[in-house]
Assembly symmetry: C2
Homo-oligomer: 106 residues x 2
Amino acid sequence: MSDAALWSALADPHRRAIVALLLERPRPVGEIVEACGLSQPSTSKHLKVLREAGLVRVRQDAQRRVYALDPAPIAALDAWLEPYRRLWNRSLDALGRRLDETSDDT
Amino acid sequence: MSDAALWSALADPHRRAIVALLLERPRPVGEIVEACGLSQPSTSKHLKVLREAGLVRVRQDAQRRVYALDPAPIAALDAWLEPYRRLWNRSLDALGRRLDETSDDT
DNA sequence: TTCTTGCATTCCTTGACTGGAATATAACTG
DNA sequence: CAGTTATATTCCAGTCAAGGAATGCAAGAA
């Protein structure tokens, strides 16, 4: 659940695809394998990385394992993003002011 | 500026540290080298990755190159995060409801 | 218990990334 | 122009992650 694990988990495009799949609804491994076009072992390894980063949780259903998103780490990302978002808003403000000034020329 | 470049640029902890440094203020390479404790070449390579991901911009000042954050890619990350943030809010709501119900027991 | 299904783990190979040392380059200085 | 400063690039290991094939393992079915 460390920050580093979170970032490196999401750095991989296949894992981001899995996360997006799980955003729609929880799914068993088989569905994920089919959807992302990787081999089953490879998919299982990605799921392990996501699990260890705290991004997904597993529930056992007979022989199947149903994976679901855990929303908590998202909050961590959001918190990381916060100061940058402030920077972004400031620059939007600056752009707005510049546009206002420019509009005086017309 | 692709999504993939953005994620893999931020996947590295040194690069996140550089980004955090530049959040405070723009800095020349020398300062960044000193602050993150890497060799100058290694730092320059990280800066190149950040540049190619669109996260930073360079301004030349005599022999120095002053790097600054470009706030635009932050918006992309924020957009990516949006649907997950909604999920997170839903789960907070659910938690709130459960706590409300539990409070009836007292 | 034996067979099958669904998933995890191990082994191995390959390709990508990282860091430092050495080197190149561009801009200022005298 | 020669020298110096600030940064980028190249070269070269060492490390690590990713993918497939083969294998292991647990849970149900017969």
